[in-house]
Amino acid sequence: MKKYLSVFALIAQNSIYRIFGLLLLLAAADGVLAWYWLAVKHYGIQNMFHSGNARFGLVLAIVFVLMAAVQIRCGDIYSGTSGYTVRRLAISEKAVLLLQILYNMLCWIILWGVQVLIIFVICKLYYRFGEYAGDPLSEQQMFLLFYISPLLHSLLPMEETLAWIANLVMIAELSISSAYWTVRRREKSSAADLLIGYWTVVLIFRRELGSYILNVIIIGGFLIIIAIDCWRMFFRKKEV
């Protein structure tokens, strides 16, 4: 067990602080956007999140891409000084891959949770100190925002179980892709096809309430990609 934790820590050490930096960047950018739209432009929180023009989605997409890049660049623990340590621990490469996938998953969950928290804090601050502070009619509107704004609804789909599943499947696929990417890099083979998953997430993550068909397509499509990637990673070759 200890060796697995050690390898996990090695994987984390390579990138977690960079990822933490990206999260700080996300919080800062969202904070600036909220300040600009609410305090400078007096746009109102409904308009800010509902219109889609406030660029919160763009900031999230940029951080998402940067995070994917960090995972890909820093995910290969066989290179550099950590490579020697890993080999000494006598742990199979499959197990290392699984730990990498697990770590990547945690990273995406961290991004998800932090983004939800940032928006929640912005809403809370707005309703507590903004122009409608203390208005009994404004309390419920936070709930409505998370349904009416496609971005917020995709982050927190509430009762829409299928959207939760779609989010989790996307996280699983991205995590596997990032891990597989490092393998392909090590093998010096092209990994361009793996970009499809990332771009798809950037393009379709924002889903409106009741996007039943889209969620089914996401779940189905990403499960297929997961199956293909797993097969190529774990079964096609005897040992990666």
């Binding site: 820590a9 509902h50 928290l117 309390e139 509107q141 936070m142 709930f143 349904y147 009762e159 009741g210």
Partner: protein
């Protein structure tokens, strides 16, 4: 390395916890609809009037939805500035995004048309002797070929639609065939002497001679200005002799005469029936037909310069009362009517500075009698809506609702696209209270229910 491990796991745990916490914090708000009386100044132009305690015992039910997916039904008990509100909420799919938010309603449309009143073959002579590529056009007066217009009809019952066009060679079912027969034989409007079409003949290079006719501006094709009300398998309807695109329609050829018709279309598929339940004078102007909820059909009309109500008992299809309410000025005043459980209220704007509310209540025999006839200053006319200039009854998408408790007549009016409403109470002395209520659902794209957003009820 241990620090990194702990940091990573802690961060992941906190993030997952955040998602759960935020969801748990927000989700209980789903049915926490708050309703607040807007005080003077909070909403420009809506100073509240009277004491809110007059509303004690009044309950409003407010329905709203977000594209029919998120649905709220809030019961509001009045009596204080922050009324007590309880909300039922449910989510259902699919999301229904429609540009025309109003639901399809029961409807009957009759269009009078020259379409197919003559067979195209009568214009074959226009194609005779033409060289390929040549055409010949002629203005033809239809009176020379046919006596009556054709009818083009749509009848929309809640669950079934009957529709036919003059050019239809087949109909969907026996009921529709019988209905077409009824309308073809009973709605006979003679073609005027000046009704003409552009007949044409040509000789196509490849296909040879062709002929037909096109409707032009003098063809007098128009939709009847119909007033209707549906009651189970029946539709009561009539039409005005003057419409937006026609005037002084010749009704002398109607076999049943000009009047209010009752069309029964039995759900068991048996033969439909059309009868005239109330003959009308040629000079009458029909304002509205509606059911009063007590088995009567009410026909609001202007007859000899007076606003009148004709009450038709739907069980016998006979006229039971003709009530002359008040003078109806010739300058197209605005008006509105409300019917609810044995009570009729009519509002009328005679002049700019005054409004009139007429209240009729039913006695123990179900006969309506005058209860109030109030003249009130226009600045005290809250939550009353009036017809627009073309005499369409309401200038709003949603009709106002009414409730009567023997002392106060309450009117409620939902906003068109926002989940807010106005409330006004009148008593025998005039306006007793008026207030504007905003709700926490007052957010763009959450809309009042398209059918009946607001209802009022006294305890």
């Amino acid at each position: 390395m241990r620090k990194t491990l702990v940091f990573t796991l802690l961060l992941a745990l906190l993030s997952a916890g955040c998602i759960g916490y935020v969801a748990a914090d927000i989700y209980p708000l789903r049915n926490q609809v708050a309703v607040q009386e807007m005080t003077e100044g909070a909403y420009s132009g809506y100073g509240n009037v009277g004491d809110v305690s007059a509303t004690a015992g009044l309950t409003a039910t407010l329905k709203a939805d977000y594209y029919k997916a998120m649905n709220w039904k809030t019961e509001i008990q009045f009596g204080s500035v922050l009324p007590n509100a309880e909300t039922g909420y449910h989510l259902q799919f699919p999301v229904k995004k429609t540009t025309n938010y109003l639901r399809e309603r029961n409807d009957i449309d009759i269009r009078i048309t020259v379409e197919d009143v003559v067979d195209n073959s009568v214009f074959a002579y226009l194609a005779e002797g033409l060289e390929p590529g040549q055409t010949r056009t002629e203005k033809v007066y239809l009176k020379d070929f046919a006596e009556y217009y054709n009818t083009d009809v749509d009848i929309l019952f809640p669950d079934v639609t009957y529709t036919w066009r003059p050019s239809d060679t087949t109909v969907d079912n026996k009921t529709e065939e019988a209905l077409k027969q009824l309308f073809d034989t009973n709605f006979l409007f003679p073609l005027g002497d000046n009704v003409s079409v552009d007949a044409h003949g040509d000789c196509h290079v490849q296909y040879g001679p062709g002929y037909g006719y096109g409707i032009n501006t003098s063809s007098d094709t128009f939709g009847l200005n119909i007033e209707e009300t549906f009651l189970n398998d029946r539709v009561y309807f009539t039409f005005n002799r003057k419409g937006e695109s026609y005037r002084d329609l010749d009704v002398s050829h109607l076999p049943l005469g000009y009047g209010i018709y009752c069309l029964t279309v039995p759900e068991d598929g048996s033969q439909p029936e059309l009868i005239n339940v109330c003959s009308l004078d040629l000079g009458v102007k029909i304002l509205k037909l509606t059911a009063d909820g007590s088995g009567n059909i009410l026909a609001y009309m202007v007859e000899n310069g007076f606003f009148t109500i004709t009450v038709i008992d739907s069980s016998t299809n006979s006229v039971t009362q003709c009530l002359q309410l008040t003078e109806f000025p010739s300058n197209s005043p605005s008006w509105a009517t409300y019917e609810e459980g044995g009570v009729i209220a009519v509002t009328l704007a005679h002049k700019i500075e005054t409004r009139q509310i007429i209240l009729l209540t039913a006695d123990e025999n179900g006969r309506y009698e005058l209860h109030w006839n109030l003249i009130i200053p226009s600045e005290d006319s809250r939550a009353l809506t009036y017809s627009d200039e073309t005499n369409k009854e309401y200038s709003y998408d949603h009709a106002p609702v009414m409730a009567w408790n023997g002392q106060y007549l309450a009117f409620g009016l939902s906003e068109d696209h926002w989940v807010n409403f106005d409330l006004a109470l009148y008593d025998k002395n005039g306006l007793a209270y008026s207030g504007r209520y905003n709700t926490s659902l007052n957010i763009w794209t959450v809309q009042p229910d398209g059918d009946l957003p607001l209802t009022l009820e006294w305890e």
